[in-house]
Homo-oligomer: 250 residues x 2
């Protein structure tokens, strides 16, 4: 593996990131300051990005262009899992009343690829495309459970085990214990490990192709983790997962 890079491309990408960091909108001088790069450089890059639709300008303010969404769409639908899974995830949201999610793993992180809100769903911050640590959410741990141990080690080495709440698993040993349990039981729990007050039930998906996936139901810990509802949710979750896996085989 060589680390030959194209600096100019990297600069362009950093500009995109900077726009996001500056609340989705920024001017040239602002970006130059933020990135410590000459204004003229920013100017040329924005010109290039704009004429390719990756950036849009209104009144000298630049924002991310919808062209990015087009590329993102291809990433989303790459292996067909998204297409067969999302209707079931939607159904899962309806049945459970809560928030239901589909996640893929890429580069050692989890990416929310589809989220659906049921009638009772709390409005939490799970937007399509959001990247999160795998160890800190139920759905992420479900994905980890499908990976070989060496790969999990690798991911821990790269990204570490930062804490999101007081309940986040930050110890590699405990994480592996829990993953072992998930492998046995086929279900992953998240007890306020990613967001205070929120819990989640998740289930790995056995998919063809190289991209690990999982689904989950998320809600207030008070609702989700009480014995009765938990059983019910678990049934819905398993149903959805089974249907997806079945359809993928077909």
């Amino acid at each position: 593996m060589s680390d030959d890079r194209v600096r100019a491309t990297e600069t362009s990408i950093r500009i995109l990131e900077a726009i996001v960091e500056l609340d989705g909108e920024a001017g040239i001088t602002e970006l130059a300051g933020h990135l410590s790069v000459a204004k003229s450089t920013i100017f040329k890059h924005l010109n290039t990005l704009e004429s390719n639709g990756l950036v849009v300008e209104t009144d000298d303010r630049y924002r991310i262009g919808l062209r990015a969404l087009e590329f993102g769409g291809y990433a989303q639908r790459y292996d067909g899992v998204y297409d067969t899974a999302y209707p079931e995830v939607r159904q899962l949201a309806e049945d459970s009343g809560e928030l239901a999610n589909l996640m893929f793993e890429e580069g050692g992180k989890g990416v929310y690829v589809y989220t659906a809100e049921g009638p009772k769903a709390v409005d939490i911050n799970t937007q399509t495309g959001r990247r999160v640590y795998l160890h800190a959410t139920g759905i992420g741990k479900a994905i980890l459970s499908t990976l070989p141990d060496e790969r999990i080690e690798e991911i821990i080495d790269t990204h570490g085990l930062p804490a999101a709440t007081d309940h986040t698993i930050t110890d590699s040993g405990r994480l592996f214990d829990e993953i072992e349990q998930i492998r046995r039981e086929g279900i992953a729990y998240d007890r306020e490990e990613s967001v205070e007050g929120m819990a989640c039930l998740a289930r790995p998906l056995s998919v063809p192709g190289p991209r690990p996936a999982a689904i989950s139901v998320t809600g207030p810990a008070s609702r989700v983790m009480t014995g009765e509802t938990e059983q019910q949710l678990r049934t819905y979750l398993d149903q959805a997962g089974n249907v997806i896996e079945l359809n993928l085989k077909g």
Copy 2:
């Protein structure tokens, strides 16, 4: 307006486009051939894109990475219109039973930003992020109707009026006539102008911010354009539009 560009960035973008053109997956030599660029160049660019998550590699095959989806998400949600509109568009799909869409204009083209399928919806090719000509669809014409005439001329100059079917409007005069009518009546029709056999009712959205938007219902011409259902659909469409506009004001 200067046309100063960053060539390297442009090369990177062309590589992303090429991956899409090569059915979403390609190898280095393949890309080099497709773009007539040296293999070593492709190699370095892919390295750069990969380490930024814009491209993912498995077994020497490269595909678009989900990082693009993250950027796309910011573009989608930029002005808040998406957030308030999509639940209503979903509702519209449920009520009408057909396919319902939300579109934004950017760079003179229309981008499907959200699509929802109702119970009877035909499975047509409207995926999130897809870019289409504005003059060739009902929802696109609805968007055009919100723009000043000079801007419309500008768009015609840039993109032309290519035909998608035999019914596509390819004459600038006729297009302006129809846009005038849409402005008066507040509704746009698409009678097999973008896809043979499909029709659509669309309505412009009056939104704050710089990004024109519209919503639509699409279905088989036989269902959508018959007097009775058409009236019904129109009611649903107007309802949805009104709710969205109301919520945006709040």
